[in-house]
């Protein structure tokens, strides 16, 4: 059965690593939905969260290919039940009049988003949640004029005190 797998990886935090990892995705024909990367708990490490669509076997293959890269220190599939998974989206919507604006506000409230920029003609909404929540918001607000969307891709951590870290 095809579904989205969330893979968390620890990689060397240095130039060129992202390009090596992403070039492998293309080469090996993986169906990547998003990649989120940023500094990890140690200065010399970055954590990369990859959402990949496919069968369990594809996800396992991806782990094999990732771990083969010298700059990847660890790669694990996260079980969604055991993990906190979040994405951040910034969505700019045209609000030509006050009726539209208050309409949009209603959705923002229902989705527990925040308005982070306000101008006479547009607002920027900040939304945090899992992918499907953001997808749902975008679906429902399609009737407005959406000017720009920027999503970070999903990022994730294991729940509880356990952690995916270097065993050194």
């Amino acid at each position: 059965m095809k579904k989205t797998f969330i893979i968390t990886t620890l990689v060397e935090h240095k130039p060129g690593v992202l390009s090596k990892v992403s070039s492998m995705f293309w080469r090996r024909n993986f169906n990547i939905e998003s990649i989120a990367i940023g500094a990890a708990e140690r200065k010399d490490l970055a954590r990369m969260t990859i959402a990949v669509k496919g069968e369990e076997r594809d996800a396992q293959r991806l782990i094999g290919q990732l771990e083969k890269l010298v700059d990847v220190l660890k790669a694990t599939i996260l079980n969604p039940e055991d993990a906190v998974i979040r994405e951040l989206a910034l969505i700019k919507i045209r609000t030509a009049n006050s009726r539209i604006r208050s309409d949009v506000f209603n959705y923002v409230e229902a989705f527990r988003g925040r308005t982070v920029d306000l101008s006479p003609e547009s607002i920027i909404v900040e939304l945090v949640g899992n992918r499907s929540k953001i997808d749902a918001f975008l679906e429902l607000t399609k009737k407005f004029e959406i000017l720009e969307v920027s999503r970070t891709g999903e990022t994730a951590l294991l729940r509880g005190p356990g952690s995916v870290k270097l065993n050194d």
Partner: protein, 557 residues
């Protein structure tokens, strides 16, 4: 700690890695390194094309079990290496490539002879480095050799900007590069070994498929011991040729598209398939879904990324071949009782029946010639091949008895590989004869290596199976395109005898098998570079053959 230039630091670091020889061609952005090389004992072999330099380093590595080193200038020199690096990568051969680069301040400015060789070689190296300071050079060289020759072996590239080569700094050779994300030699999981042993113990029809991983981990003794303990037949991939003596009663030869009839027959009947150090390439398995359909598969390989990449397996054991086989023997030797089974009887019976026919030829028969070559050569002699019919005739008919005596571009199928690889192998093993089995098309791709062979006094023998066509392509056009021959005629071939003589080599055209035997014996005695031109019928096919994408049962003979 002493003060030296980046170029001197590089050469000293290479000496510390016990490098004996570098194959290469100089140029503007690598001049400081070539200058420093003059003060070293390391031998330099001047190639005539960087692709050949890389193949030479690769041939040296495959023959010697040590990393081979090639070197080129920036830009076109570096990109010319790429085909050779890719060839080594696909066949898991440890090659360290060193390239010059434009000065740091000019990188990314499209400077004269600049190429992003780091970007270009990322998919065909395990790792690549671009030192930006002199101090980094020793530890990078140390890491490069470590990475290239451990784990699944691969090429590694070091790209050195020209300013880093000439800058003078205090250099410390004790520092180590830390490679945290790299697992060099995983140990086999004892639980999985136990399960594998149980599967094998219960098997009625076990089959061992042995690949290049046996050679790369020196697991020759282990493989032989296991096969004899189980009395299991052994088939090899093209890369595995030589890892199990092909004159052994349990040897069935090569499996796959141009595998032997017996190997392809029995691998399809097996109930347990022990695949060691191989990767289920399409040339080996034929139609993957129908490959060895009833077998429970135990896959042993050092590269975790190979597990389940092609075929779903019942047991995946990530380990070097020697360690895993040793662990299996440890358990099995207490259990196994030697008794001939039905499977073994059947193999004996059929093996003899399958073996004996060689199709008739119009002229000189390539299979017969290769059998004569086997008789003429000592067992330690090294044979390399080009790509195409010559390669498959050699794989089928030239029995490799000793490890590392059959060297061929398997994964990449790179025409032009065999001749420079033979030169590299001869440098590694100067005391054994080295013979390149060539097609006329392939030979012409790197024939200018004759100059290297003569100038550097590296005598090798080339046997050109000369059909005046791109034979393997012609064979496919004959069999699958209704004899519509497109762009395969090499009618403009030069006179190979004169060509060789003009380089200072010996050339000889032969017209019969007897003449071939005489010529090869003479060449072996004289130990000078000799090119033997063997005219053969352009319509000759390599059989048996399984058409691409078909099951191994569908053999054409």
């Amino acid at each position: 700690m002493s003060r030296m230039s980046g170029a001197q630091a590089l050469i000293k670091a290479l000496e510390k890695e016990k490098v004996e020889v570098i194959f290469g061609i100089p140029g503007g952005q690598i001049m400081p390194i070539y200058d420093a090389l003059l003060d070293s004992k390391i031998r330099h072999v001047l190639a005539r094309h960087e692709q050949s330099a890389a193949h030479m380093a690769d041939g040296y590595a495959r023959a010697s079990n040590k990393a081979g080193v090639c070197m080129a200038t920036s830009g076109p020199g570096a990109t010319n290496l790429v085909t050779g690096i890719a060839t080594a990568y696909l066949d898991s051969s440890p090659v360290v490539a060193i390239t010059g680069q434009v000065p740091t301040s000019q990188i990314a400015s499209d400077a004269f002879q600049e190429a992003d060789i780091i970007g270009i070689t990322t998919p065909i190296t395990k790792y690549n480095f671009q030192p930006r300071s002199v101090e980094e050079i020793p530890k990078i060289v140390n890491a490069a050799f470590y990475l290239a020759s451990t784990g699944r072996r691969t090429p590694v590239l070091i790209d050195i900007p020209r300013d880093v080569q000439s800058e003078i700094k205090k250099v410390d050779f004790a520092e180590k590069f830390i490679i945290r994300g790299y697992k060099a030699s995983p140990k086999p999981d004892p639980l999985k070994i136990k399960k594998a042993a149980e599967l094998i113990f219960k098997a009625d029809k076990p089959f061992i498929l042995a690949g290049g991983g046996i050679t790369n981990s020196n697991a020759f003794r282990e493989l032989k011991e296991l096969a004899e303990l189980l009395m299991a037949p052994v088939g090899t991939t093209l890369m595995g040729k030589g890892c199990f003596p092909e004159d052994h009663p349990l040897s069935l030869g090569m499996v796959g598209m141009h595998g032997t009839k017996e190997a392809n027959y029995f691998i399809m009947k097996a109930d347990v398939l022990l695949a060691v150090g191989c990767r289920f390439s399409d040339r080996t398995t034929g139609k993957l879904e129908e490959f060895s359909p009833d077998a429970k598969v135990i896959h042993i390989d050092i590269d975790p990324a190979e597990m389940g990449k092609k075929r779903d397996v019942d047991l995946d054991i990530v380990s070097s071949a020697d360690k895993a086989i040793d662990a299996l023997i440890e358990i099995l030797k207490q259990k196994m009782k030697k008794k001939e089974s039905k499977w073994q009887k059947r193999i004996k019976e059929l093996k003899d029946r399958f073996r004996n026919e060689i199709n008739d030829s119009k002229g000189i028969s390539p299979p017969k010639l290769l059998k004569l070559l086997r008789e003429a050569l000592p067992l330690e002699a090294i044979v390399t091949t080009e790509v195409g019919q010559n390669q498959m005739w050699a794989a089928l008919n030239f029995k490799a008895i000793k490890p590392r005596t059959f060297i061929s571009s398997g994964g990449f199928g790179c025409m032009g590989f065999g001749f420079p690889a033979a030169i590299g192998a001869k440098v590694a093993k100067p005391d054994v004869p080295v013979v390149d089995i060539a097609g006329d098309g392939s030979f012409r791709m790197t024939e200018n290596s004759l100059a290297t062979s003569i100038d550097e006094n590296i005598p090798v023998i080339v046997v050109i199976l000369n059909n005046s066509v791109l034979g393997m392509v012609a064979q496919w056009q004959r069999l699958f395109y209704n004899r519509r021959y497109s762009a395969v005629n090499l009618g403009d071939n030069p006179d190979f005898v004169k060509l060789s003589e003009s380089y200072g080599a010996k050339g000889k055209r032969i017209n019969s098998l007897d003449e071939f035997t005489d010529t090869i014996n003479k060449a072996l005695k004289e130990d000078v570079t000799t090119v033997i031109d063997v005219p053969i019928d352009p319509e000759e096919n390599v059989f048996p053959m399984v058409p691409a994408g078909r099951s191994l049962k569908e053999i054409i003979e």
